[in-house]
């Protein structure tokens, strides 16, 4: 039996591009089909009922029709427009960083219910309570977990010994923590403090609201940022462009109310 010609999916827009005079090529993150690309005809026309539901970070339900070359979005219903997120520069920028990271790490056609759930919960949290370092780092760590790249934090990835509460190191090439005895054998390992290891382990076992209770010192926040950034960059094999925009916003002190 052939696949149905039309289908309905819930999704979050992670990217879109203008095509033709008035059309849009939209990339959605969906729970059942993973990343889906579809064309929305006349979506850039003022007054199009599709347009507002197809902006980046829009969460909606989409009615699609399968075509030979590409699918078409023929109807859309907004489920959440994240008004607080969209009206604050810092929050919007964090949302765009998340969308870019998701886009860079997921592939079309591979179901990803966990990654979709993570993205939606993080966007809702940013909309509700703003975005700080904890939210971004928690998202990065749980995204790595959802994609199967979670750093191993229980045992030394080099010798297999149980990690002691001393300064160890994190190696992105080996995929986890190396113990103090093996640090010198791993060239890309960077020192990982006891507190940073504890926080990473804690975040892997809790939801975002609980994770936000961690009050990291500035030094610990920087350490977590650098370690996870190295890990994400190793997985992607490239930089996330939005990251430099976030750094710029911080430097220019252009934040309105967050973090």
């Amino acid at each position: 039996m052939s696949a149905p010609r039309d289908y309905q999916i819930e999704g979050i827009v992670i990217r879109h591009a203008a095509i033709g005079e008035r059309d849009k090529l939209v990339t959605l993150l969906t729970p059942d089909r993973g990343k889906v690309s579809a064309v929305a005809k006349s979506a850039r026309r003022p007054g199009s009922s599709l347009g507002p539901c197809l902006e980046t970070l829009s969460h909606g339900r989409y009615h699609c029709v399968t075509r030979r070359s590409t699918d078409l979005i023929v109807q859309a219903e907004a489920l959440d427009s994240f008004p607080s997120l969209m009206s604050d520069l810092w929050r919007t920028s964090c949302g765009l960083y998340i969308a870019e990271l998701i886009d860079a790490t997921t592939v079309e056609g591979t179901p990803g219910r966990a990654v979709f759930g993570l993205m939606l919960s993080v966007l809702k949290e940013i909309d509700r309570a703003g975005c700080d370092d904890t939210v971004l780092r928690y998202f990065e760590l749980r995204l790595l977990e959802g994609l199967g790249f979670c750093p191993s934090l229980k045992r030394c990835v080099q010798c297999g010994s149980t990690l002691q509460p001393v300064e160890n190191a994190l190696s992105s090439s080996l995929g986890g923590v190396v113990c103090s005895e093996c640090i010198n054998e791993c060239l890309d390992a960077r020192l990982l403090s006891v507190d940073a290891l504890k926080v990473l382990r804690f975040w892997l076992g809790c939801d975002l609201a609980t994770a936000r209770r961690v009050k990291a010192t500035e030094a610990l926040a920087i350490e977590l940022d650098e370690q996870l950034h190295r890990f994400v960059t190793h997985v992607l094999q490239r930089e996330v462009k939005s990251r430099s925009w976030l750094a710029r916003l911080r430097t220019e002190m252009l934040l309105t109310s967050n973090p």
């Binding site: 980046t56 970070l57 907004a78 008004p83």
Partner: protein
């Protein structure tokens, strides 16, 4: 069917490189030109040749123009207290068609798009500040596209110019003329309610 006559194929290939023109449309245009008069072909060729040579960027507003400063910037009748920020040179024509705006423009040549690596340095944003400081601008109108990137650009500009104490406004968001309320999305309808006017 592939075009076997090389001059026609060459024209079709050139057309197909244009945005929104597929191979079929390009082929149709090429055959249309083949049947056009010599005068029409000459005019088209001349105008294309002159396009790159005579069009420059206005040093004041960064609009595309054939004179520097452009006709709007050099018009003494324009209201110099009002400056409208648009994303693209092509956004000026619809604004002018309304006949409601008589001030000057500032073209950004894009919008902030972090995932594409486009930030303020890639836009004509830094050039806006000297204009606001030196010219007698009292109102800055943000007329970027109602997209996430457009909104981010607006918010960035608003915070950038805040120390200058200039009034910053943006184009109203709401229901488009001729639209059905039933099909309006939450965001648009919400903004239309918030920004409702006395009647």
């Amino acid at each position: 069917m592939a075009i076997t006559v090389e001059p026609i194929a060459r024209v079709a290939r050139a057309f197909s490189r244009l945005p929104g023109i597929g191979p079929k449309s390009a082929q149709r245009l090429a055959y249309h030109l083949l049947n056009s008069s010599d005068a029409d072909i000459e005019e088209l060729a001349d105008s294309l040749r002159a396009l790159k040579g005579s069009v420059v960027i206005c040093s004041s507003c960064f609009n595309v123009t054939d004179t520097d400063p452009c006709s709007i910037c050099s018009d003494p009748q324009r209201d110099r207290s009002s400056l409208c920020v648009v994303e693209r040179p092509s956004d000026i024509a619809p604004m002018e068609r309304t006949g409601r705006f008589h001030g000057l423009y500032h073209v950004l040549h894009g919008s902030v798009s972090p995932s594409k690596g486009i930030g303020p340095d890639e836009l004509k944003l830094r050039e806006l500040m000297p204009r606001l400081r030196s010219e007698e601008v009292t109102e800055l109108i943000l007329a970027t596209n109602p997209t996430v990137e457009g909104e981010a650009t607006d918010m960035y500009i608003r915070q950038m110019v805040a120390p200058l104490g200039i009034s910053v406004t943006k184009l109203a968001r709401g229901l488009p003329y001729g639209a059905d309320l039933e099909y309006a999305d939450d965001m648009t309808l919400g903004q239309a309610i918030e920004l409702r006017q006395g009647f």
